[in-house]
Symmetry: C2
Subunit: 244 residues, 2 copies
């Protein structure tokens, strides 16, 4: 039976980290809220979120339905899916390492979101632009180099080589790092200008993922929603600046 992914249509957002794993594995899945007809569309997603009868309800999208099980939170979905999709580290003892890295991706993604919405998700960006400028300056000046320096070290210190974040083969973490770097490059092209020079192993990983046959096909397909200013990674030139 096909996996059912539930996420807002029209933006990559946090759902994209799950899509990339499903696409890389060639898994059979339905992007429920992007569909139409019975049991599809945003209404079908809201029905689960507001259900009074589901035994285990999610707080927010994305969530995944696999038969009777509803699984929430990106890192949790990936921890559940990765072994089934051949994207978990081998040996299994390294799975907590992968999950720790995935949660650190979750952390930086939340910080990226807050560069354009530092005060409230209920206000428009335009109504919190001054605070956004301060938060984005701090993010690009301090947090981005700290996270990128960390992930570069993770690759460099991987005992199995710097081609992968954990272990000797491709995992969902590698796919997520690709998406993170793509998103950062879209949102902050000026800050990311010297990225390749400063973070060579991360830059090589990004290219290796981008050119994998199924990922390349996916990126060229209509299933890949373009980056836009509804997603987590938004390009507001006034928030961008030089960074290490």
């Amino acid at each position: 039976m096909a996996y059912e992914l539930y996420y807002w249509p029209g933006l990559q957002g946090r759902g994209e980290f799950v899509r990339l794993a499903l696409e890389e594995a060639g898994a059979d899945y339905i992007d429920v809220a992007r569909g139409s007809g019975a049991g599809r569309g945003v209404a079908a997603m809201m029905k689960v979120l507001k259900s009074n009868s589901e035994p285990h309800i999610p707080f927010a999208p994305p969530f995944l339905r696999d038969g009777d099980l509803i699984i929430a939170q990106v890192a949790n979905i990936l921890m559940y899916l990765a072994p089934k999709l051949g994207l978990a580290p081998k040996p299994a003892a390294l799975r907590p390492i992968a999950n720790g890295l995935q949660l650190t991706v979750t952390d930086i993604v939340a910080e990226v979101h807050d560069t354009h919405h530092p005060l409230s998700t209920n206000l428009y960006y335009e109504d919190q632009k001054d605070a956004a400028k301060a938060r984005a300056a701090d993010f690009l000046g301090h947090r981005l180099p700290k996270f990128m320096g960390y992930f570069e070290r993770v690759l460099q210190q991987n005992p199995k080589g710097d081609k992968h974040a954990v272990g000797a083969s491709l995992t969902a973490v590698d796919l997520s790092l690709f998406q993170l770097i793509e998103g950062l490059s879209y949102a902050f092209p000026r800050a990311m200008k010297s990225f390749v020079a400063h973070y060579p192993a991360l830059a090589a990983l990004r290219e290796a993922v981008r050119t994998r046959p199924r990922i390349a096909l996916y990126l060229a397909s209509e299933r890949r929603i373009p980056f836009n200013e509804s997603g987590v990674f938004r390009h507001y030139p006034e928030l961008d600046q030089d960074a290490r």
Copy 2:
């Protein structure tokens, strides 16, 4: 061999969610950075964080060392520890449900942190107080009721009864919900004034955890650091306001 917990001394912070699980289980553990002497103290923690030879480095505290394995991120540490401590849901098929809930606790904790540091963790609170007021108002007005309403529903809809977040027995998620409510009550007493009336199952869970024998002993001990304005949950009266 004792578990080694690494976290900043002098504050409960994110380390406290791990401490509560270790304490409830009566597990043998060392709170490394709070100790002194060889292999103890903040220097011992920094040594791991800055290591160029560890195969799997954490981004930030808290992290746990169990033999050769270093595990980072609260939810990940709890997912690793819970089965060993008898704090994972039974049956094991419910573990992704517990992990999804734990990650939702992680999310609200990050939002609580940002009520006093909305612009930068590198600036003092006093230097971002206006933004903090706006963020805290949004948090108490919108986000807190949304999260609390969600967790209350989780308890109410648990097919095994409203005494636990998942399954029929105590899990690390229940302990974390206790800590979350304790912290919110310390930081925002005005906002939490009508908490018991609005969220009866959560309020009952809080009392049930607080009076568990080992937890009660721990809370009365010197191992329990008092809440203070260095932690995630800070009481700044100017940020507090009525809330649902």
